[in-house]
């Protein structure tokens, strides 16, 4: 059979010469002529869990064709630094969201501070502090 290395070791009619030998090995002329085609893979949402028992937090996405491939890529993409105990991947199309037009349903929520867990307990002390310091 033809050696795997035949294409790589010499490219005499190179359209681009670079100081980076990797670029020269690329044989960009072939790419320009459309010999290589890109196919689109679906995306997966990646969740990163720092410690056992801690909630996984959304880290980003990866492109992959299967859950196994997605996990494999997620490991290097989102768990290369710092501590990781596990990763979750979920196909993006399996994530359901509100329509952006419905964003107004959340509009007044930030005003409802009485729903904050610390509201009642510390309210009086905060008011006293504010009065004393004329804030």
């Amino acid at each position: 059979m033809k050696s795997n290395t035949d294409n790589i070791t010499s490219s005499p009619r190179h359209p681009i010469t670079s100081l980076d030998p990797r670029i020269n090995r690329l044989d960009l002329k072939r790419v320009a002529e459309g010999e290589q085609t890109a196919s689109h893979l679906v995306t997966w949402e990646v969740f990163h869990q720092e410690k056992r028992g801690k909630q996984p937090t959304h880290a980003g996405i990866v492109h992959a064709s299967t859950p196994e491939m997605a996990l494999m890529f997620a490991k290097e993409q989102y768990a290369r630094r710092g501590k990781t105990t596990n990763l979750w991947v979920v196909k993006t199309s399996d994530v359901y969201t509100f329509s952006s037009e419905d964003e107004e349903i959340f509009e007044t929520t930030p005003e409802k501070t009485f729903r904050d867990p610390g509201f009642y307990k510390v309210r009086e002390r905060i008011e006293a502090y504010q009065a004393k310091n004329k804030i």
Partner: protein, 252 residues
């Protein structure tokens, strides 16, 4: 302990790791997709790290020169890597197949070395276990995926497997020190390793739906462990050491 025997083992492991790490890093920036570019580069970096750790043992335990000197200032003849790791990266199917064949051998070798009587080596073997487990997982996932992908991907994987196998078997080229290493409990030997590897690799290849190539003993590509290399190692070393050679004494 027999120093020459152990150094021979450490050098071939370190040189394998350095050379395949360098080769695989040639994909950095030009990988088939962003995620894979990152994963493959990261694993290549791990390999170079393993070589550094092994050169460090050679340096501290056996009084040889510094790791940087061992990596960048030895001649081609002094390298003990197998020829499999020297081959150019080729197309991605070949690089993946080489990664699959090499990393399974490496994983099993380190597994055997966890009980080595050479303590620093046993400790290193335990330390790198997780990293290599991921490398093997990566290789297996890709093999399974592409062997069951399109007709072209399957054919390419099979062709690369056929091409790489005589080189891969060269990983297990015996040294003159096999009996010594086994006798002193340093390493269980290439023959045992090859047996374990063949069993493991055959299982995965067949499950993926590919054919395990049968290679005659006479076709196996030996020589690397004794300093006989393919035409590709020299140019790899020239490229790798280009910057160091400008000023070998420079501080980094």
């Amino acid at each position: 302990m027999n120093t020459e025997a152990i150094k021979d083992l450490l050098y071939k492991m370190a040189d394998d790791a350095l050379v395949i790490g360098h080769r695989n890093s040639e994909w950095t920036g030009i990988g088939p997709m962003l995620e894979e570019d990152l994963a493959f580069s990261s694993m290549a970096q791990d390999k170079v790290g393993h070589s550094q750790a092994l050169y460090q043992i050679i340096h501290t335990v056996f009084g040889e020169r510094e790791p940087d000197v061992l990596a960048f200032q030895r001649s081609e003849k002094e390298f003990k890597c197998c020829q499999l790791v020297e081959l150019p990266i080729g197309e991605y199917d070949f690089s993946l197949i080489r990664h699959f064949l090499f990393d399974h051998a490496e994983a099993l070798r380190y597994e055997m070395l966890t009980t080595s009587t050479l303590m620093p080596l046993a400790q290193l073997a335990k330390k790198v276990r997780g990293e290599i487990k991921y490398h093997v997982m990566h290789a297996d996932t890709f093999l399974k995926q592409l062997a069951n992908g399109s007709e072209e991907s399957k054919a390419r994987m099979q062709a690369s497997l056929n091409y790489a196998m005589p080189y891969a078997l060269g990983i297990f080229e015996k040294s003159a020190f096999e009996d010594t290493l086994i006798g002193e409990g340093v390493f269980g030997g290439e023959e045992k390793l090859q047996h374990l590897w063949l069993e493991k690799v055959t299982g995965i290849v067949t499950t993926a739906g590919l054919q395990m190539p049968q290679v005659d003993e006479a076709k196996i590509i030996y020589g690397g462990r004794k300093g006989f290399h393919s035409e590709y190692l020299k140019s790899l070393l020239d490229e790798m050491t280009e910057v160091t050679r400008i000023d070998p004494s420079a501080e980094w």
